[in-house]
Symmetry: C2
Subunit: 377 residues, 2 copies
Amino acid sequence: MKLDKGVGLVETKYETVAVPPNDLQLECGTRFGPVTVAYETYGELNDRGDNCILVLHALTGDAHVAGWHSEEDRKPGWWHDLIGPGRALDTGKYFVVCSNVLGGCYGTTGPPSINPDTGKFYGPDFPVITIRDMVKVQYLLLKKLGVKHIKAAIGGSMGGMQVLEWAMMYPGMLDAVIPIATSGRLSAQCIAFNAVQRQAILMDPEYKEGRYEPGKGPCRGLALARQIGTITYKSDESWAFKFGRTFSSLREEDYYCFDGKFEVENYLDYQGEKLVKRFDANSYLYLTKAMDLHDISRGRGNYSKVFSRFRGKVLTIGISSDFLYPKHYQEEIYRYFKDNGAESYYWELESPYGHDAFLIEFDKMSRKIGQFMATIS
Amino acid sequence: MKLDKGVGLVETKYETVAVPPNDLQLECGTRFGPVTVAYETYGELNDRGDNCILVLHALTGDAHVAGWHSEEDRKPGWWHDLIGPGRALDTGKYFVVCSNVLGGCYGTTGPPSINPDTGKFYGPDFPVITIRDMVKVQYLLLKKLGVKHIKAAIGGSMGGMQVLEWAMMYPGMLDAVIPIATSGRLSAQCIAFNAVQRQAILMDPEYKEGRYEPGKGPCRGLALARQIGTITYKSDESWAFKFGRTFSSLREEDYYCFDGKFEVENYLDYQGEKLVKRFDANSYLYLTKAMDLHDISRGRGNYSKVFSRFRGKVLTIGISSDFLYPKHYQEEIYRYFKDNGAESYYWELESPYGHDAFLIEFDKMSRKIGQFMATIS
């Protein structure tokens, strides 16, 4: 992570959209609203409102993509190195927007939000949402912000699913899309990994059918879900390099007991605990379910043909060591866009870090994404 | 699975070994015994006692490798097609032996067995065991059966770990070893997957610190552990082929609710429930821990050099689509045996089935293993 300034001091802002009677028609059939949206912007929107870059975040991400929130706590956003003056997503030219997704727990309306009709937390009464519903909310936010046109939509994993839905739902509004480490419809293996993570949460007695107090709830279950997820975000090679078989105790007797742990186990524990402090279990359930339902061809006909909706530029990025979203899924996205008339490119990010590489390999990604952005007028 | 006879009707037999005062010195330091060993044999031991083939089973496997237990229930053993007259492991020539591992729950002494000192189940008082401890018990069994020499030891996954420890512990007793889809020391990624599976069991309130009644206990936790394991035993390709995104209900409303499931989820549920009926949660904890501790170099010096202990023939088999035990671990085993003077071969089993391929691809394996066995005098 570079320590230079980038976009510097930023703040999370809030807008309310989908206010009844103009509330949101969700895919599940329910009408829903109002929706508060937490978002951040970097750079300036031009007069024509056509210089927007839309960044979409992954499962446990948030709107804080770049810069920091206070000079005391300079914790940079999750793509800090990619965004700023002169960077790959150049805030000297572009108006960069990222918002927390519908169903999330970082300021946008989701299960831990108060239901205005009841004065209580939505919890398990929150409707089942889809990637398309998230995109609709983002569209309403951009309209409110005065954005007329998007230069590029970019995101990895669940963010990449939103990128693809943007291309399907509002193709005329976008010049380019950059889906990373994602797929056009969630694979059976990914559904399986999501299912076991949800079960970890559901079997925690503290889950209480979702009616726990926000901030409390199924801590062990959520931690375990995160641990399972964490394994899938890395690679055999990265685990081997980072931890190998290092044991966390030098006492021989610890080796032959269940409390004795390998360093990789301590790391998983730490990752689990860290997420529990920052994430809501119901949000985790709803967002993984939204991923499961992700299929850009649903209700739109043949999968290979649905790509014809978007004829702009496409840069699809696959990661060499990603076993959760193997690169053939990204090659497929590239090919189907190309076969259907888009100007489509594929780039393989050579990295040992597995699925997480798109949150780590800033230098390599900056170069490639910067080059691609330079081709967009 | 071929429906021909193979070894036909067989039965599980039992021997008691490690009877005090000649009980077993476990690696953890504890002395332990007596140990009942459940085992099966196919073919006849010759007069010199030197025509044995030792088959070693994986995590939830058992001694029932071939044939069936009754004419009414012709459920064949887990490697039925590989074993029989004229087959790859030819019972016309060889005396094939397989026993349930120490710590297991299929007849060999393990956590669900009665502790003769207390009259109660061992449960969590069972000592932490290792792959080497399992091999010691197998050695004692073979001695009792009159086996003087082993033509080949063969097994996949945890079975392969035992194969490698046989080569390290009793090298003079073996002509050949066939480790399949395994590693010389468990990888950090495998430890991580084992750790989350154990946590699933431990967080089930019915676990009761391991003091549940055998046959009862942490059913949900064990089922979840098995589901996680099941995902790692397959491949993205095999999940895609078998289930894709098939949804298990035709009702639109089921799609947008948490009870609605994809077929892959139902399959995982089924696999979880099936294991709960046949396996003990404490055994699951102890055997995965034994795998974590697996490292053929522990206490023996440099990993790459420890292979020099065995100078016989080696056929190491890797599986092209295995992401749990990626093939480079088997290539490493092959190379280190070769570099240290063994007659070492590597064969890649081309298969889309992932780690489980060694329990599925009988035809391909029969051919290759049969060829290799033909070279052993």
